[in-house]
Amino acid sequence: MVQIREYGEVKVNDDDDNNNGESERFCINDHLDLLIEVLKRLDGRSLGAAACVCRQWCSIARNDSLWEHLCFRHVSPPPIGVRPVVSALGGYRRLYMVCVRPVLSRLKRRRIGGESEVVRRVWNQNEVELSLSLFCVEYYERLLVGGGGGRVAGDSPASSLKFLCMPVNV
């Protein structure tokens, strides 16, 4: 049981906690479910930064379900049956890095004018579909390039998505 008293101060009243004399100190690493809940609410960049904190955080942050949550956070309802497809094509983390993030940032830059400065993580169904299609094309292209060996491991996207990596000439 965790009581949150004031801002920043947490009193732990955990019967199983064997910390003697230090029961006021809270360590998030002991409560991974909480950590995951926090990470679920981060944006992509922060999630990537979180992965650099320590090995434990790295292994947690690389959990694909976190990235899935990130990808489909504001799309309602999340498309059915997407998960096996995306997992097979390389996972949500790769989808985000290779397609979703560039697509969003490129399209966000296009929406000039009255948009607020707040980073918009909301994206609509069309953008989701387009990203998925591009992701699939990218997987196929890696197949073509990689020869008969099947999936080619590697983080750099295939050349058909090079246009996404190019800086926008604003």
Binding site: P79, I80, G81, V82, P84, V85, A88, L89, P102, V103, R106, L107, R110, N126, E127, E129, L130, L132, S133, L134, F135, C136, V137, Y139, Y140, E141, L143, L144, G148, G150, R151, S159, S160, K162, F163, L164, M166, P167, V168, N169
Partner: protein
């Protein structure tokens, strides 16, 4: 810009308060009101506070151009402390600026900031070009600066040629502004006699115009079978093209090469390069959105036609590397109700080294299908021409069992090289009983009977294409894709210009021509929905230089173009409901 308006007005030669050139200065409303005639002064400028006589407009415009020329890049530095009065008297003010700057610059020994083009001996037109230092064209992104290379003095050819092209220079994307002065240079611009060498800047845009004209003159010579003149002209084009930077130079080089081949009757062998062609097409796929647009819009139409079907069959007239199908398979995998069983029949040309390229592509697609959980079946057909394939070979299953789609991306136009072939193929398409036929073709008529017309059309079309490629070059200047894409297009150019008869396979036709053909063959159009439009627009927005690309809807068909020029068109069809026996 006021200068634009002055020039426009001069061309129209009549003040019109309802003119459409409200230049966004916020006074558009005022322009539409009727203004009292204030003593012969120009009404529109009056609104802005400048008093210029309507009769003096041409003069003032010319002076302003001279002023800009003289000021050049360092114009501000050249200004002394002389005070110029009364800017509302535009004519007098500009004159005083000019005379001051001319006296200033004549003192400088290195007067390379301005260029004066002397009129030809017999010509009565004065030509003044704008250098690209001023960003006149707001569409130009990235600020590509043309260098002020000092060129040798060149006498301009007779004004007749240049006079006619003032309105039609679509190849030069920065919009050349030129004017004809009625009085030939009586307002003499001072050519400082002290300068050691009269340096004349022939701006690269002017070289571009000259290039186009020499190309057209050469094509005309070829049309008239005047091969000696054509030969001389084509060499001249080569020289000009070499000095021209950018898209225009590249296009001109390809066209000159093709013309040379036509003149010397060296026809390229089309068959040898089949395998290279697919690699080139891959690079073209990556560097610009045309193929992606084609694939995505066609896929959307096919997807909508396949709604509710449990078994589907796609017949692809030009499989190449199969880049179109992963996206469709993914969309089918994720559709509500689960994916259908997907059967793909791919048709392709014979490979020179006898490898079974089709089967390899099919195998890769099968791997992908296995990954995403779509039941997949593939069959490949090697054929020299689509007319060799008929429906019975393709194992068409009854339409209650399987829904059929036929897809042709940049392939059907090749059939026009042989008479009767396209009708045969359209009939066999009907025999396949497809639910939908998707057709993507280049939007230009390169199949006219007269060579010169074909040449001109192709010149405009490929110039626009190269222009759009160039915009992506601004962000990736060393990209191999760009060069390969240009080679890919260059081969098409060569085929359009240099080949004849059955060798000339790049017989592009416009959407309206295809519409007529398909309508008379008994097909009804299917409108591409708004989903396709949205997806296409989004796709284009992702491309750098995406500002230049435009998606247009044209009576149910989608066209992708560069700025105002449509370049490719996607349309969808179904066999007509009335069976024509």
């Amino acid at each position: 810009m006021k200068r634009d308006r002055e020039r426009e007005r001069k061309k129209e030669a009549k003040p019109s308060s309802s003119s459409s050139m409200a230049v966004g200065i916020g006074k558009a409303k005022d322009l539409h009101q009727s203004l009292p005639d204030s003593g012969g002064m120009d009404e529109l400028l009056e609104v802005l506070g400048y008093k210029v006589r309507s009769t003096d407009m041409a003069d003032v415009a010319k002076k302003l151009e001279q002023l800009e020329m003289v000021m050049g890049e360092d114009g501000i530095l050249q200004l002394s402390d002389t005070v110029h009065y009364n800017p509302s008297d535009l004519s007098g003010w500009v004159q005083s600026m000019l005379s001051e700057l001319n006296t200033n610059s004549s003192d400088n020994s290195s007067s390379t900031n301005f260029g004066i083009v002397l009129p030809g001996e017999s010509s009565s037109t004065t030509m003044i070009d704008f250098s690209n230092n001023k960003q006149i064209d707001t569409q130009q992104t990235g600020g590509k600066m043309y260098d002020d290379d000092p060129y040798d003095l060149r006498a301009i050819a007779g004004g007749a040629i240049y006079g006619t092209i003032a309105e039609e220079s679509p190849v030069s994307r920065n919009g050349i502004k030129r004017m004809k002065a009625a009085a030939p240079g009586s307002e003499a611009v001072d050519v400082p006699p002290e300068s050691p060498k009269p340096v004349v800047l022939v701006d690269s845009q002017e070289v571009g115009i000259r290039l186009v004209h020499t190309l057209m003159a050469c094509a005309e010579a070829v049309q008239q079978d005047n091969l000696k003149l054509a030969d001389a002209l084509v060499k001249h084009v080569g020289l000009l093209a070499a000095s021209q930077a950018g898209a225009m130079g590249k296009v001109a080089t390809y066209f000159a090469g093709a013309l040379a081949q036509r003149i010397y009757k060296i026809y390229p062998q089309d068959g040898l390069e089949t395998s290279c062609w697919e690699i080139l097409q891959m690079h073209f796929y990556e560097s610009c959105p045309y193929l992606k647009f084609a694939h995505f819009t066609a896929n959307q139409a096919i997807l909508e036609a396949f709604a509710g079907a449990t078994r589907v069959h796609v017949i692809d007239f030009s499989l190449n590397q199969g880049m179109q199908w992963p996206a469709l398979m993914q969309a089918l995998a994720l559709r509500a109700g689960g994916p259908p069983a997907f059967r793909l029949t791919g048709i392709g040309p014979p490979q020179p080294d006898n490898t079974d390229a089709l089967q390899q592509v099919g195998w890769k697609l099968a791997q992908l299908a296995d990954t995403i959980g779509v039941e997949f079946e593939f069959r490949g057909f090697v054929a020299n021409s689509l007319a060799d394939i008929d429906a019975s070979m393709l194992d068409i299953r009854p339409s209650e069992v399987e829904v059929v789609a036929v897809n042709s991306v940049f392939e059907l136009h090749r059939l026009l090289a042989r008479p009767g072939a396209v009708e045969t193929v359209l009939n066999s398409i009907k025999a396949m009983k497809p639910k939908i036929v998707t057709l993507v073709e280049q939007e230009s008529n390169h199949n006219g009977a007269v060579f010169l017309d074909r040449f001109n059309e192709a010149l405009h079309y490929y110039s626009t294409m190269f222009d759009s490629l160039e915009s992506s070059a601004l962000t990736q200047p060393l990209s191999q894709d760009l060069v390969m894409s240009e080679v890919y297009l260059g081969r098409q150019i060569c085929n359009v210009v240099a080949c004849e008869g059955t060798d000339r396979v790049e017989r592009h036709e416009t959407l309206s021509q295809w519409r007529n053909r398909l309508n008379s063959a008994g097909f009804d159009p299917v409108h591409l929905g708004s989903n396709a439009f949205k997806q296409a627009s989004m796709l284009l927005a992702l491309f750098a230089g995406g500002d230049g690309y435009r998606v247009e809807e044209n009576d149910g068909c989608l066209m992708l173009g560069w700025h105002t020029r449509p370049l490719i068109a996607t349309s969808a069809w179904q066999p007509g409901s009335t069976i024509i026996e």
